[in-house]
Symmetry: C2
Subunit: 231 residues, 2 copies
Amino acid sequence: MSEKGTYTYSYWRPAVTVDNVVFSFDGTNLNVLLVRRGVEPYKDCWAFPGGFLEEHETLEEAARRELREETGLTPKHFIEIGTFSDLNRDPRGRTISVAFASVSRPNQISVVAGDDAGDARWFPSIQMPALAFDHEKIFRMAQWKLRIGFTSGPVAFLLLNDIFTLPEMQRLYTQVYGREFDRRNFQKKFLSSGILSAVAQDDMDTKNAHAPIRYRFNEAGYTQFKEKLLK
Amino acid sequence: MSEKGTYTYSYWRPAVTVDNVVFSFDGTNLNVLLVRRGVEPYKDCWAFPGGFLEEHETLEEAARRELREETGLTPKHFIEIGTFSDLNRDPRGRTISVAFASVSRPNQISVVAGDDAGDARWFPSIQMPALAFDHEKIFRMAQWKLRIGFTSGPVAFLLLNDIFTLPEMQRLYTQVYGREFDRRNFQKKFLSSGILSAVAQDDMDTKNAHAPIRYRFNEAGYTQFKEKLLK
DNA sequence: CCAAAAGTGTTGCGTATACACCCATGT
DNA sequence: ACATGGGTGTATACGCAACACTTTTGG
């Protein structure tokens, strides 16, 4: 927690904040975490969880701390989205913000409203409410970076459960890229890449014999896949 | 110029700086602009041109201003590389830096040493001296982003002269990606893509008839190329 | 006369696209 | 029985990698 006091400097300094864009996937929708602001400015507006940088922490550490304080979430991977420094972006005065994206597994969806934020909930990324400050700009940048992450790394598997089905995975890709994929080509592509391992069906499920095949992410297969690309 | 005075805040604030990684290409080498620091800390060390964010400007504007003040360069396109906020990155105290990359045409290589910086010059990107602060970390990130830019956009043509030859262009790609390209495949790839237009040889050059063919960037051809990728 | 630089063409392989069929479940 | 959702296979096209030859200039 920041301590109120008096800080004097020889030169002007901006206030520095961090903001968190947290994505999750529930098997159908790509969701984004928002908190309802409890104080002015933009009181009662939805915004990304965030707050002010403190003296003893890096920007990423600040992002992790604010997210934990406001929502209880502690994702592993944070990616810097960019800085936002428009002169009038914060009515309280000159503030620059550094935004981070992270992903939360669907089974971690248990948002705890903290002190600062009155309320917190997931919104489908295609049905976002109006946002405070310049957070819509931040969100567009975050979506862009998420696509980049999907293209260049195994980010998709951070959003999926440990065990997932190909139709689930395809729904995720459809939402992230905003377009349809051919089901057969999609499956062929990932099955032949070796980055998926099939999971044995439970014997319990004999009654449900024709349920979708379940897979898990294959770390070793992914490593080979990457090395092949780099050669 | 920043004015010295007294600034008092209720909460702690970090100092915020910007740093510029400027690339240029002289037909043979990919070069990076460095200034020799005239003051402590790291006096006489080489560093990227940069300085403190001021009240009336965005981060990108600050980067443009500092670059102009220290070197006289005014590139068109700036791309944010990332933020650097390690606790001990600046011995003067807690400072966070936002780094930008830009490109300068070879014919603009005319560095004017300004007030703050004692000296400024281009270094081949493969023969960089030791750098001040955490600028080596910044440089690695800039190289990475430059590669991304080459892959996903027409950044290469910002580094080349208006009129260039394919061997020049290939040398540039070789340095940016750090690997060799097959000359024939390289040429075929770009000639068939439609993003290059041949430039008529000067009649003056009849004596030099077998000089490399000169090309220019074809904006319209690039647009078509992009649309084709997105479909 | 030989070496170095620059232009051009062919082939094969791999990946992505387009497209059709079968099976099981639930109504 | 029909609609829905899910698994599998095949043909084609395009891009990329591998590779050889010719010409000109300069030493």
